[in-house]
């Protein structure tokens, strides 16, 4: 009787409430030694969205990104307050499996850094650590992740060539593939196009359109035009504070704060 009830309850479609956020940053502050770099930041990262983070240099964008996958833990001076949740779980909980967290929240850095190995090894390094051993499965991951970052056609015949021999734009797409091969849930891109030519930049933006079907993407960019064309929501940071965050179109056409409007119109920064 109760079993039947349960089945019925389960089969009833859930009321269409607000979609729960993928990651929630709550009153999060971060410091290096005495210097406070992030000041009580509150921010949500939704599933299947591209969130752009803009702001002048040194406003704490990279620090926020590196807090989302706990890379800052390695910095001897780093300290933090507040919470960051992934699917409702505190990522700074002492029992968090940090390597597993980093597989779920993958990151691409501003400077393309292929490891000095072959393209194939660069991509399979992460999956192998995660326990994938089957050669077929690894081959499939290499192909699908290279396709997703639009690099496959350029390198499919020379997967054993060193990743460091690729051009800058190709290297950055290799770094993106490498993260995608882990099948993460959140993708952190920290100024991924800052050193790239327009064609590689376009490739990466193109890739993001596809990728947001599956992932939450956080894109830090020093290029406001890129934020305007390649994101769904935008957050503006200034000196460690989140000044405002909203749908990209709104933030760019009708900013709520004077400082946001000064920044996007190029009055400073």
């Amino acid at each position: 009787m109760t079993q039947v009830m349960e089945q019925i309850v389960q089969s009833v479609p859930q009321p269409a409430g607000p979609v729960p956020a993928k990651m929630v940053v709550e009153d999060f502050s971060a410091s290096f030694g005495e210097m406070q770099v992030l000041k009580r930041v509150n921010l949500q990262i939704m599933p299947c969205e591209r969130l752009a983070i803009i702001g002048p240099a040194s406003s704490g964008k990279t620090t926020l990104m590196r807090s989302l996958n706990r890379l800052n833990d390695m910095e001897p001076q780093f300290s933090r307050e507040g919470r960051i949740q992934l699917d409702g779980h505190d990522i700074y909980h002492p029992q968090t499996d940090v390597p597993a967290l980093r597989r779920r929240v993958g990151m691409v850095y501003a400077v393309p850094t292929p490891l000095p190995w072959s393209i194939y090894e660069n991509i399979t390094y992460g999956p192998r650590l995660a326990g994938v051993t089957s050669r077929q499965r690894l081959d499939a991951l290499v192909e699908s992740s290279l396709r997703a970052s639009f690099l496959w056609d350029e390198v499919k015949d020379r997967l054993d060539m060193p990743g460091t021999d690729l051009s800058g734009g190709q290297q950055q797409r290799l770094c993106l593939s490498r993260v995608l091969a882990l099948e993460p849930e959140v993708l952190l891109l920290d100024e991924p196009c800052s050193g790239l030519d327009p064609i590689s930049t376009a490739r990466i933006e193109e890739a993001m359109v596809e990728l947001k079907r599956k992932y939450s993407i956080v894109l830090v960019t020093n290029n406001t035009k890129q934020a305007a064309r390649a994101s769904d929501r935008t957050a503006f940071f200034l000196m460690g504070e989140l000044i405002e965050c909203g749908p990209t179109v709104e933030l760019f056409t009708n900013p709520k704060h004077q400082r946001t409007s000064d920044y996007i119109t190029g009055h400073f920064g």
């Binding site: 890379l71 390597p99 650590l129």
Partner: protein, 277 residues
């Protein structure tokens, strides 16, 4: 009057060229001199026979075996300890008094004359631990001697691995151990190998320290707990005691050829396996 930059440039280049040529010339002279006197006496028999009448006649087979044993054991002992220390210093501690002390100690150790290591080895391994004059006493002493070189070269090689590689490794889900072994040490391998090859060379050519710890027995060592004479010590005794200068040069030629062969093959291996990756 000012000298035109193009002329100072030319003077500087020619001075440097001359100095480099002098250094290479001296080296080439020494090697040629020894090989000139030694090679004519080298033969298959010399390499495979035991010495007779204190080395006046016969070959150096037991010395080759003794040298191989002492060198291999010393490096097999020193390399893991040295590389582990370097990893600890660079990856598992923050800079502090402790790391400074270890580094200072290693640098001091590197500057101590080998005869003092020999004396220490004699007192500690030979007498106190009761290992006697033996291959193992010699190897342990030589291991202590080359340890600082291995630590410092490995440390430098590990430090030269870009910081970004560590972020990448962590970012892809490595634990610290995986990051260290699969990314950092792997990238530092050419540098680490260089340090190890250098210490192989030093172990082969070490004389004073092995004289006091491995002894100078002429026979073929049957185990690592027996005394054995190394090639360099054999050379020293042959020439110093005036036993046979021809056999001394022949022994020196074996040593020089062995060291060159080791360096060349290490160089080749490194280019072959690491340069490509």
């Amino acid at each position: 009057m000012r000298i035109a930059p193009s002329i100072t440039q030319r003077i500087a280049v020619s001075i440097m060229w001359t100095l480099a040529a002098v250094a290479m010339g001296v080296l080439a002279f020494i090697i040629t001199y020894i090989l000139w006197h030694g090679l004519p006496h080298l033969s298959w028999a010399f390499l495979t026979e035991s010495p007779k009448s204190m080395g006046r006649e016969g070959g150096v087979f037991p010395m080759i075996v003794g040298t191989l044993w002492v060198t291999m054991l010393a490096v097999v002992i020193a390399a893991p300890v040295g590389v582990a220390t370097a990893i600890y210093l660079t990856e598992y501690t923050h800079e502090g008094k402790m790391t400074a002390a270890i580094r200072f100690g290693a640098d001091c150790l590197a500057g101590i004359p080998s005869i003092i290591f020999g004396l220490f080895g004699f007192v500690f391994f030979v007498i106190t631990l009761g290992m006697g004059l033996s291959v193992i006493s010699g190897a342990l002493t030589v291991a202590l001697m080359v340890l600082p070189t291995i630590i410092r070269t490995s440390e430098e090689a590990i430090r030269a691995v870009p910081r970004a590689y560590r972020d990448v490794a962590y970012g892809l889900g490595s634990t610290r151990w995986q990051m260290v072994t699969r990314v950092v040490v792997r990238s530092a391998l050419p540098g680490i190998a260089t340090g190890v090859v250098l210490s192989v060379g030093r172990s082969i050519s070490e004389t004073a320290a092995v004289m006091l710890t491995a002894g100078s027995a002429l026979g073929l060592p049957q185990s690592i707990f027996q005394s054995s004479r190394t090639l360099s010590l054999h050379f020293y005794i042959l020439s110093r005691e005036g036993i046979s200068m021809t056999n001394a040069y022949a022994t020196a030629s074996v040593l020089i050829i062995a060291i060159m062969a080791i360096n060349l093959s290490a160089y080749w291996l490194m280019r072959r396996f690491v340069g490509k990756a």
